[in-house]
């Protein structure tokens, strides 16, 4: 399908595709097994200017938006859904600054992120506050020109590797979600440490750690937006970032299907290539159809966001929900078509199935997405 991309978007797609093919695919299995952070690939992405595709030109980016990020994430995820996350999770940590940062905050943080010199991360989830973001227990207490942070954030992508963190903490726990605020915290700030690296089922080339704040003193200039806006910052950030997760799911599914089509042409049973069997063909056709439907949905959503649309929560959630459920289904079927070989770690396909699972869980579980979609649907029907 031709999505009528701009010349610049075609360049981004082709460049990301080339990096995925030449630099990521050959090392994806190694990173998956060893679970190490792909700094050498981050260097390649930085040199290629891809780290700044969603950042304004005046801050060193190339001035694109969510659509550009979606295209790059999709291509990189075809080769490895974990490695692509170094950049996608940085975008998640950077959107709060893009959306709510002051000119000074943007000047200070965006250029290094655009150049790929620094990665970013976003810290919201805690042990007892995931889907229920209003229940966060990390506190930020104002003290003169500073805020003092205490608490622990859990399962933070890029944790420990990123330099710039946007963290949501409560300035007034009695107010629940309305008492939250978002802060920029730099790695190396005294009182800011990292917990253990999590051992994950999939996206193993991406690092996930705890952020531990113990009387961590940060200047009040690091407050994003205003006190009480923390929850809004998080929700608006997710509105921008969910198409990125959807694109990661899309890339994982497409990458798995590409490998599967090549495999079924080669694999012979009953004296014939298994691609000649109608049962196999129908599965391939269904997968291709669902992937294309997800792509059309994601691109449309990304373009709508880039056009400046205000109410995007529902559509953003729809794209994330559909694409991640699709990716789980498609990768499961791809393993099925590989048969016994598909279950073996010697073959690349089982990794896609493990990598796909997280897309149904993070940046809002798919149950939360359904909640967002339904509540907007009901609200709209009243109006």
């Amino acid at each position: 399908m031709d999505y009528l991309l701009t010349e610049e978007q075609i360049m981004i797609r082709d460049l990301a595709r080339q990096i995925a093919r030449e630099k990521i695919r050959p090392v994806a299995a190694e990173y998956d097994v060893e679970g190490k952070f792909p700094w050498d690939i981050v260097k390649v992405l930085a040199d290629s200017d891809l780290c700044g595709i969603y950042i304004e030109e005046k801050y060193g980016g190339t001035g694109g938006g969510v659509m550009d990020l979606v295209l790059a994430t999709e291509e990189l995820s075809k080769a490895c859904g974990g490695i692509s996350l170094a950049m996608a999770a940085t975008a998640l940590g950077t959107f709060p600054i893009i959306l709510f940062g002051t000119e000074e905050q943007k000047q200070k943080y965006l250029p290094d992120i655009a150049k790929g010199k620094k990665l970013a991360a976003f810290g919201l989830t805690e042990a007892s506050a995931g889907s229920d973001a209003g229940a966060i227990a990390t506190t930020a207490k104002k003290s003169g020109d500073h805020y003092i942070l205490n608490g622990t954030k859990q399962w933070i992508t890029n944790g420990g590797e990123a330099e710039v963190y946007t963290v949501v903490a409560s300035v007034d726990r009695s107010k629940g979600a309305r008492g939250a605020a978002a802060f920029i915290v730099e790695k190396g700030t005294p009182g800011f440490e990292f917990g253990k690296k999590e051992d994950k089922m999939g996206i193993r080339a991406s690092v996930t750690r705890e952020l531990v704040f113990t009387d961590c003193k940060i200047p009040k200039e690091n407050l994003l937006s205003k006190e009480g806006m923390g929850f809004i910052v998080a929700m608006k950030t997710f509105d921008q970032s969910r198409p990125g997760v959807a694109a990661q799911a899309l890339g994982i599914a497409q990458g798995a299907l590409d490998l599967t089509v090549a495999y079924v042409k080669e694999r012979k049973q009953f004296g014939k290539s298994i691609s000649s069997f109608q049962g196999v063909q129908f599965m391939l056709a269904d997968m291709a159809t669902e992937i294309e439907a997800a792509r059309a949905l994601i691109y449309a959503t990304a373009r709508m966001i880039d056009s400046g649309a205000k109410k995007v929560a529902k559509d953003s959630a729809i794209a994330k929900l559909f694409a991640s459920d699709m990716a789980m289904k498609v990768t499961t079927d791809c393993v099925q078509l590989f048969g016994g070989y598909g279950y073996m770690r010697d073959y690349p396909i089982e990794k896609y199935m493990r990598d796909a699972k997280i897309t149904q869980i993070y940046e809002g579980t798919n149950q939360i997405q359904r909640g967002v979609i339904a509540s907007n649907l009901i609200k709209e029907s009243v109006a």
Partner: protein
Amino acid sequence: MNIIVCIKQVPDTTNVRIDPETNTLIRAGVACIVNPFDMYAVEESIRLKEKFGGKVTVMTMGPPQADEALRETISLGADEGILISDRAFAGSDTWATSYTLFRAIHKIGDYDLVICGKQAIDGDTAQVGPGISAHLEIPQITYVKKIEEVNLLPGNKYIKAERMTEEGYEVIESPLPCLITVVKEINEPRLPSLKGKMRAKKAEIIKWGAKDLDVDPAIIGLNGSPTKVVKIFTPPPRKGGQILEGDPKEISEKLVELLKNDIP
């Protein structure tokens, strides 16, 4: 340091097939790429520019679509692309090609170094680079795997390079200007950057034809090419060998017997 890199656009032979009837390459539908050895030449020129400053000019002789190959090198960091294209140049062999490229380099005039890939993957002759240096009457160092030193002090400009041989390598020092051809051991070519690709898209490619180069019409194109291709064929596949079995004594006896009977 001003560097001129000569490149060639070639069919991507990793996917190429041979027509069994005519024994020629089936070019239809085959993507064109920059000759891989030339990519090492481009990379080395950009590294030298990053170190010493100056300008990298990439030139190619070919059909109008070779414009794409020049743009690709600009996306990597080359400053300028020159396309040498004219119907009069069609059918050039390595003699006519190296003469034509020499005329183009002569027209540029101001350069310290010319870099070529060691050979093109379609013709595999490795003659054009050395041919250019002969026409230019400058020294050449072929099969360079490492540039050890470049000195640009006026009055004592030289380059010192390791030249790969089958047994090892030679270290050769040459005054500049000089022409080198490079092997794949010299570097790992970079990928393009997004800003580079944007610059390449907008870049103005300079086009020179026969009239622009003040060439001798007797030395260009098919008529100026002394090489005549008599026949192109695919060598017959090697037949499988014969494996002798048994204990060492039996095998050696069988072998001696075979050698005696088969060799006239």
